[in-house]
Symmetry: C2
Subunit: 212 residues, 2 copies
DNA sequence: ACTTAAATCGACCACATTGGTCTAAATGCC
DNA sequence: GGCATTTAGACCAATGTGGTCGATTTAAGT
């Protein structure tokens, strides 16, 4: 088989995945401890190095996994036939929350990776990374209907502000629900509140009904 | 003398302060290394423990220092006779940038401290911390002129969105100027751009001239 | 039931790093 | 000169590091 680890029982796989993602997300590559990983994953030390030969290999495996998830479960799901910027990102925000609910550490891990700027990556991972950046850029900027915006406003700045508000709300939500098991929570009221912010943004930046 | 460290030549004091703040900001208390601190501060190991008896004492000293700076150089400077929310935070944003330019690590250090939630602090530090929270709350919410806001908008939400936009701009600025010595930079063009965002927020949330 | 192969653990390795100490030299001061 | 303070870094026991290995259990095949 291509990878020993892949053919493990799902539950153990998840335990190891989560333990390792958390450890790297919390401490970065160098300071992450394989001892802590095996302890939290509740496996013997030997196993970790049986599945992944070295600490670095483990890191690359996780990186590949996270890039894949983010690309397939998040970016690729963003619908660019939706030409309304805010509507597009309303759905994107929901997708992001779903991914976070299922795998809180995928996004955290990638977060720490982004600001660690490693000099060189294995070819296939570099490719995935490039693909992710390209896809991300496209999903944000392509095929937006500029005519929805009021004439006198700076659309570039509006884009940024909308993103900051979405990020701000996400951040606040995460911190106010810290500890609670996100995935078994009824998210509806939070989405409702999220939508109110988006409506405010629309009435701030979009043309009013009359002048369309 | 009350504290050996205080009566050092300014330049050496700064070297030690910066080295230690950076180390704790990057790694948190446990993982921070006194060896790295002395290396970066370019002093002998003995000195650090001569000035501050233990690692913990050093940490508390820094904490006290950072709380003090933030309180005196930032929070206390915010003018609450300015009743216009956005104008108040325009000046607050500038103060924050100035503090950051002079001491990038003070805010970073406090940032890591906030989310580390230590169980118990020495009395005097706990007091400073409480004072900071109280002062912070006051400076944000007290004496705001609500009548500036348009009648149909949710002011609480507007507050938050304004803060998210300011934080977003700060974050973007920091990351786009990363590496450059912030303090020797001409910040004017960036303030100009910052103001444009604030103007957009005003026209989004405030009453127009006519309806005042 | 017997053999062989894969999976699993954790003691163990050599080495690096930890917070903190202490000696001995350098420097400042009268 | 002589006393006190400042300085550097070798040194300490303790802990932690990534990674290995032999021993034991489990699974599979026939």
């Amino acid at each position: 088989m291509t990878h020993l680890f892949e053919s493990l029982e799902e539950e153990k796989k998840q335990r190891i995945l989560n333990a390792a993602l958390n450890e790297f997300a919390d401490h970065g590559f160098e300071q992450a401890s394989t001892n802590r990983i095996v302890k939290h994953a509740k496996i013997g030390k030997g196993m970790l190095f049986h599945y992944f030969n070295t600490k670095k290999d483990l890191y690359y495996y996780l990186l590949h996994y996270c890039l894949d998830r983010t690309l397939n479960d998040y970016l690729k799901q963003i619908d660019i036939t939706e030409r309304d910027f805010i509507e597009r990102f309303k759905k994107a925000g929901e997708l992001k929350m779903e991914l976070f609910a299922e795998h809180p550490n995928v996004l955290n891990f990638l977060g720490t990776f982004f600001l660690a700027d490693i000099k060189e990556l294995p070819g296939d991972i570099q490719a995935k990374y490039d693909q992710l950046q390209k896809e991300g850029y496209e999903k944000i900027y392509s095929n937006i209907d500029y005519s929805l915006f009021r004439e006198n406003i700076d659309v570039e700045k509006a884009f940024k502000m909308i993103n900051w508000v979405i990020e701000g709300y996400e951040k606040e939500l995460k911190s106010s629900l810290k500890g609670q098991s996100f995935s078994e929570l009824n998210m509806e009221p939070y989405f409702k509140e999220f939508y109110k912010y988006l409506e405010m943004l629309k009435s701030a930046f979009y043309k009013k009904e009359g002048e369309k």
